[in-house]
Symmetry: C2
């Protein structure tokens, strides 16, 4: 975003020339997400000065878009009074987001400046398990009693005057606050004044419990094309709502987690550039060690055939080719299955269909790779016919077996309660490595 850089430079120039009136005006006109980006690029000692030029509303708004480092720096530097102003304006979910990552002294500073009711609520929110509906929901929603008329509902809406996107889906509750229905704002606007809210609402409610997992929730959002979803407690009382913009973040987070698992990494929530080298190493070493064991097994298998290898030294030069191709063929299959399961397109019951499909795909790809190899070897090494034929037959077998292993292991992993994503490239590759060697040496033993 070069364009943005130009605007930021403009602000810096205004600051340096001391034209604070103009700067203040421009800053308060700027989009909050852009300003948050501007803050992240500012040196620490200038952030506070600029932050204080923002109006109360804007300050809270920009704050909610900042990354956690910048947020912490701001909260650390401002007065208690300023903290109170920000917390007053912030949405509950943004406050909780910040607090759940902040160091203890900042949490204390914020809670000290929060009124008792809100503090109690915040504490309750902080207790919801990570990635649960409770931890991502917000309490800024609009609810109507089921017996209200449309005109009273509109009046209440105007009075509370929530200027938030969360008013586009309103919720209808009974006298004991139990959720009775959902009322899109558009329907309220188009209705007659005297209609009772109850008659207007949709009672086909898709809701989740406070402890439901965010991945499940994001599936519901995708399936039903929702823009908001109510969260209820065990007695079906409405306690919060989740909005689609938070779900967009959840989806990206779940995808990142899957991609990391698929590359033999322990998943991490932090941005790469902000993670320490020790944390990075800690997330990588466990899988490298596990996978090393299977590398050792492949080595041991080669050791079993050392007579054969000593006799036909050329054989060992085909080991990287067969292991590599097998690993890649297996990863391709496992990736498609893992992704298909994550998107809900492939289920446990499809296992036989999947295996039959992969068997045939393996035959086609294996046959082509095998043929290409045979032609290449016949031209380049015409005098070792039996080695060439061994490599070509092994190639076909390895690809077929690799595809079969690659497609079944993710499904089995899920059956055993593991995340299928761990059965991706790295693990499949090391398993296929051993199998490829056994196939190759056995065929070689017969033919060479």
């Amino acid at each position: 975003m070069e364009e943005m850089e130009l605007v930021f430079n403009e602000y810096i120039k205004l600051m340096e020339s001391g034209n604070y009136i103009e700067l203040k005006k421009e800053l308060n006109d700027e989009n909050a997400a852009n300003l948050a980006e501007f803050f992240e690029e500012l040196p620490d000692d200038r952030q506070l000065f600029i932050f204080r030029l923002l109006t109360k509303d804007n300050a809270a708004d920009v704050f909610s878009y900042m990354d956690s480092d910048t947020q912490e720096h701001i909260v650390k530097s401002i007065t208690d009074n300023e903290v109170r102003n920000i917390v007053d304006e912030l949405c509950m979910d943004d406050t909780v987001d910040f607090l759940s990552e902040a160091p203890a002294n900042l949490v204390t500073k914020v809670l000290r400046n929060t009124d008792e009711n809100k503090r109690e609520l915040i504490n309750k929110f902080l207790n919801y398990p990570e990635n649960s509906a409770g931890s991502i929901m917000t309490i800024e929603f609009v609810q109507f009693h089921e017996l209200m008329t449309v005109s009273r509902a509109m009046e209440q809406l105007r009075k509370t005057g929530v200027d938030k996107e969360t008013i586009y889906t309103c919720y209808v509750v009974d006298s004991s606050r139990k959720l009775q229905g959902v009322l899109p704002l558009r329907r309220l606007i188009l209705a007659d004044d005297d209609t009772i809210v109850r008659e207007l609402m949709n009672d086909d409610i898709i809701s989740v419990g406070t402890l439901d997992d965010q991945e499940y929730i994001s599936h519901l959002f995708k399936k039903y094309n929702l823009i908001a979803m109510p969260v209820v407690d065990q007695e079906n009382r409405l306690v919060g709502i989740i909005t689609v913009d938070d779900i967009v973040d959840v989806i990206e987070q779940e995808n990142t987690e899957d991609i990391e698992k698929m590359s033999a990494l322990l998943p991490s929530d932090d941005e790469y550039l902000k993670t320490s080298i020790f944390a990075l190493a800690k997330n990588r070493i466990p899988w490298l060690l596990v996978l090393m064991i299977s590398g050792t097994i492949s080595g041991a298998i080669m050791g079993l055939y050392d007579d054969l290898l000593a006799r036909v030294i050329a054989l060992s030069t085909f080991v990287p080719l067969l292991m590599g191709t097998g690993g890649n063929a297996g990863s391709q299959a496992s990736t498609l299955i893992i992704r298909g399961m994550a998107l809900g397109e492939i289920e446990m019951k499809d296992i036989l269909k999947v295996m039959w499909k992969e068997f045939r795909v393996g035959l086609i790809s294996g046959a082509i790779l095998s043929l290409v190899n045979f032609i290449r070897l016949s031209i380049m090494e015409p005098d070792q016919f039996y080695v060439n034929i061994t490599v070509s037959i092994s190639m076909l077998c390895v690809v077929v077996v690799a595809k079969s292993i690659g497609c079944t292991l993710p499904i089995f992993a899920k059956k055993c309660g593991f995340d299928p994503a761990i059965m991706a490239g790295p693990l499949i590759t090391t398993i296929v490595d051993s199998v490829a060697l056994i196939i190759f040496f056995n065929i070689a033993g017969v033919l060479v």
Copy 2:
């Protein structure tokens, strides 16, 4: 969703017992997304019968949620008149979605039953490039002239009576239909009747052009937490809007594409179970062939050292271990960099920071792996000290080099205009394989 299965069985029972009145009532009360799922599970010959029990609105709504196979079957089977009813009710983006995937005879059938204005529009939409803003936008939006009062705007809103989520963000245009501002519905509701729309609107507009790519658009949605975004033509005239529920699909699609590329697959839009084995094989063979070349290079490298291998046959048994670990270590690094770039967290300018970080992470992980290996080998093979020391030193070097290759290649790929996602596991692994062998044999040449 066991629960859903029970409901579906209920419908089937009603159908079989001939209780069509009750069935019709229940179907029309059911959620459209659920019904679409029900249709997908029904045998072809029953779909039509059930579909005809739906009211006109519901039929179109359910249709928009169906997968393309079921949609095609429905359109193929119904009368021209029924096609007209569905197309009348369908949103433009859903119609275009269907048509862009449907076979030619069905496209003709639909276009024949569309009035001329809509047909012209559809044709225009079908001409937008795949994955462009034009191809995913909808034309069901609300626009006001900038000089309207709030009361006139509300009146117009009620008159057009669009019962769609797309009315939550309204757009303000001037007399030549150029986009002047954005007006959230909530602000309109809270405003005084006599206020001029122009004074109420937000003129800090985030818009895209019809040809902008959907990946870029999804970045904007994430950055600014949007629920809708206007699409303008080259003269800045408002031509459509994109809503967040479509962006959710785009995000999943882009993630799938990245994951596929990262596993050496040509990306595909189709669901796994619905893709033919030839299409699957076609998406896999090209990369397997490319990667086979580098497997061949690794083999050739081994060939260069066949004297050494013949002399110390034990060396070859460590080849899988070193190649495997190197490949995994490199994939881990490349995955984090690719994902970081996709999420906009890592940019080209960070390359030195990234390399220095990975160098140190490589040293830490390499040292630990090397130590674990040395201890294991010293216990298991105490009599081959020099081989053991060779393997351990090689392990450290291979991991450091693999991390460095893994983190730089994705950034270079981007610099050269390629998608960084191709520089993931499989390609990194095969590149690292060759490097690992050279390191290993050179160290062995000195020590053994």
